[in-house]
């Protein structure tokens, strides 16, 4: 029963929630105007600038990272290009060295062969001249020996004309013998 009385008493005093109240509306107008004006000057520019600064910073960092990445990629490409060029140069140098070695080897071989041939020719000539000298000596000694033998046999001196005749005959015999 006490509840019902309380409820009735309160209901009787309750104002209409839709009732206009200019004091409340005016207070809301003034309070929001002051709050909005203060926030407009003191808060939102600072917050938006802070957020923009951070946004710019992040975008700048991303751009910097992208630039660094592009530069690194470019440097890597340059390095790889240089490496390929160096490899090519090394290959070329090796090929040139091989060609040079081959050329020097060929030249040395040719020179050696030429020198060998010359030496052989010279040796042959020396042998031939030695053979001829030996034959000449043999001829001379043989003629002297023959003359001495003949003079002893004949007990007379063989003059130079006889000696020449005898030598010629002896040489003819020697030639015929193949000495």
């Amino acid at each position: 029963m006490s509840f019902a009385l309380l409820l009735a008493a309160a209901d009787g005093a309750a104002p209409n929630p839709m009732q206009p109240n200019l004091w409340v509306a005016g207070t809301a107008l003034v309070v929001f105007s002051i709050a909005f004006g203060t926030l407009y000057i003191k808060v939102w520019p600072i917050i938006t600038k802070g957020l923009d600064d951070r946004n710019d910073k992040i975008l700048g960092e991303i751009k910097g990272a992208e630039d660094a990445r592009a530069q690194a990629k470019e440097a890597l490409a340059e390095y790889e290009q240089s490496l390929a060029k160096a490899r090519e140069q090394a290959q070329q140098t090796i090929a040139e060295a091989k060609a040079e070695a081959q050329r020097l080897g060929d030249e040395m071989k040719a020179s050696n062969e030429r020198e060998l041939a010359e030496r052989m020719a010279r040796a042959k000539a020396d042998i031939e001249s030695a053979r001829k000298a030996a034959v000449a000596d043999i001829h001379a000694n043989a003629s002297e020996l023959a003359a001495a033998v003949a003079s002893r046999i004949l007990k007379r001196e063989i003059n130079s004309a006889d000696q020449a005749t005898l030598v010629a005959e002896a040489l003819g015999e020697l030639d015929g013998a193949g000495v």
Partner: protein
């Protein structure tokens, strides 16, 4: 206990209605007029808290000195971080897709001021300040109540929205463009449609005023309705005393059930406090975007759909 206190003090409606505060008892204040009601006290207190809280947050969000290095871009403090998260989300995900970057920069201060103003008043209304007065035996209140559950407050805020919308429309469209917009461009269309121009104009012109009125009533009704429901639920155990044996099993069961439901409902009210602040701000942004140049006409249809969806929530 709280239930009895509520019951002793008010009806559910009386709990959320505006009433005189203890300050009205001061003679010279009372002579001025009805300047010290609870909702007026909460308006002033909310405005002060809002300004101080946001100035504090802005000082923490502000870019620091260069000597701080990268740390100067870091927001310090939980309040500032919460404010920043809300600002960034609402700006990038909600307002900017509707208004575009240029108009967002122009209208961000107004839209976010009205959002945080309503939010602070809504949240302050969730504090059981009047009930604490009862708890300490005081039946004249220093402060308490939900200012946004007062139609005069919401109507004033809607008036600001109305001025903003019309200021934007005249600035963007001019008077002729404004008239053209209210006739949906039919003046330039086929002559056969000229007959419906007065009807379209009347409907659109009424819409100019209906939109802010809808804003005011939506916020007022949601805040008042939620609080009435919450107060009613909390009063149920005391009401149950009339029909059930006090302290008995049935009464105890009703108390537990209604208490649990009231806790759940309070969380819902917390959500509604944010939602209604968002809806007011968002619909204002939508209405501003609707009064833009012709090149936004295609976007307007999308905006209309979004606005209809948001309005359908409540």
């Amino acid at each position: 206990m709280l239930s009895n206190l509520l019951l002793a003090a008010d009806t559910p409606l009386g709990h959320v209605l505006n009433r005189k505060s203890m300050w009205s008892d001061i003679s010279w204040v009372g002579e001025i007029g009805d300047v010290a009601s609870l909702h007026e006290i909460m308006l002033v207190l909310g405005g002060v808290l809002l300004v101080l809280g946001l100035i504090f947050s802005a000082s923490r969000i502000r870019t620091g000195q260069e000597s701080e290095g990268n740390a100067r871009y870091v927001t310090r403090g939980r309040l500032a971080q919460i404010v920043e998260v809300m600002v960034v989300y609402l700006r990038d995900e909600m307002v900017q897709p509707i208004l575009g970057e240029k108009q967002t920069r122009r209208w961000l201060p107004f839209l976010f001021s009205i959002f945080f103003f309503i939010l602070v008043l809504n949240l302050m209304g969730l504090l059981p300040l009047q009930d604490l007065h009862h708890l300490f035996g005081l039946h004249h209140f220093l402060l308490g109540g939900t200012a946004t559950a007062n139609i005069n407050v919401t109507a004033t805020l809607a008036l600001f929205a109305f001025v903003a919308i019309q200021f934007h429309s005249f600035r963007e469209l001019g008077f002729i463009g404004w008239l053209d917009h209210l006739t949906c461009g039919l003046m330039k269309g086929p002559k056969g449609l000229l007959l419906v121009v007065p009807i379209v104009f009347a409907v659109e012109f009424a819409g100019v005023f209906i939109k802010p009125v809808a804003l005011a009533i939506r916020l007022f009704a949601n805040m008042m309705g939620g609080h009435i429901l919450l107060a009613t639920i909390i009063m149920l155990p005391s009401m149950a005393q009339l029909g059930l044996e006090p302290g008995g099993g049935a009464w105890f069961g009703v108390s537990i059930a209604t208490g649990s439901f009231a806790v759940a409902l309070t969380f819902l009210e917390l959500f509604v406090a944010f939602l209604q602040a968002f809806v007011f701000m968002f619909l204002t942004a939508v209405f501003i975007s609707l009064m833009s140049h012709e090149e936004h006409e295609d976007e307007d249809h999308d905006v209309d759909e979004v606005a209809a969806e948001v309005a359908a929530i409540h």
